[in-house]
Chain length 151, copies 2
């Protein structure tokens, strides 16, 4: 799904690789697997994440800490991704999509409970940079759709 | 404020140019000047914007329409930008920052009123691509800080 009109084959290959990295990101999230999540990311100072409603966290240490906290407090989460679009520009690429989320809010050691399942929609931007043959996520920004502030 | 550890002079120049483009974006926003905003952007199909609480809008037509609507409904807006960081990777660059916003919510032809001033904080990601000597915004994503959904 490349949208950049130059060097079509190379861009299509890159777009496929970026899309695979993006799939790996959501697989790690659904599995709540911190090691798999670390593999997806560029573990650098410039890595940053903005979870829905959270302030930005910068640097891999804080990014990893946020995933650890989210995974511990999320007994179940499932994503249906819609309106996905991949754009490649040289060694950088960004994916925009909607995350349609089904999740259970848990306690620290929370057991999964169907009674607490809830849905949400998040507009997400995922930024990747090329690392040899791989693409690493360097920025994830998710924002709740439907909040009131249009500032 | 380049953070990329290669070819330092070129990257610093690029980071300065990106920062200038970022300043022009907020100047156009504060001035509520659609022509100036159009100059900032890459007016392309891949251009996209996610305003705080809004779904993503893709393509320059929809992006421009959103600025027009926001400008018509915002008699006054002022930004204090904090925690700004510029990262350049080749012909792509991203700026992350916090928008500390003072604004007046207005009606269609709304007159400015001090009584209706309100504050908000938005975590923003601004993505730029090089266009000759210029850098054009290709993606703006702003999300309200302090919303409850951590999905």
């Amino acid at each position: 799904m490349a949208h950049v009109p130059r060097d079509d084959d190379a861009v299509t290959d890159a777009a496929d690789a970026v899309q695979a990295a993006n799939v790996a990101f959501y697989a790690a999230f659904e599995a709540r697997d911190l090691d798999a999540m670390a593999e997806v990311w560029e573990r650098s100072e410039r890595a940053s994440v903005t979870h829905p409603g959270w302030p930005r966290l910068s640097g891999w240490g804080k990014v990893a800490g946020s995933w650890d906290a989210i995974f511990r407090h999320t007994p179940f989460i499932q994503f249906v991704l819609t309106d996905e679009r991949v754009d490649v520009a040289g060694d950088t690429a960004w994916v925009t999509l909607d995350e349609n989320i089904l999740q259970a809010a848990g306690t620290e050691e929370g057991a999964e409970s169907e009674a607490s399942l809830s849905g949400a929609r998040v507009a997400a931007t995922n930024l990747f940079v090329r690392d040899g043959d791989d693409w690493r996520m360097v920025m994830h920004h998710g924002s709740p759709v439907g909040a009131e502030d249009n500032g």
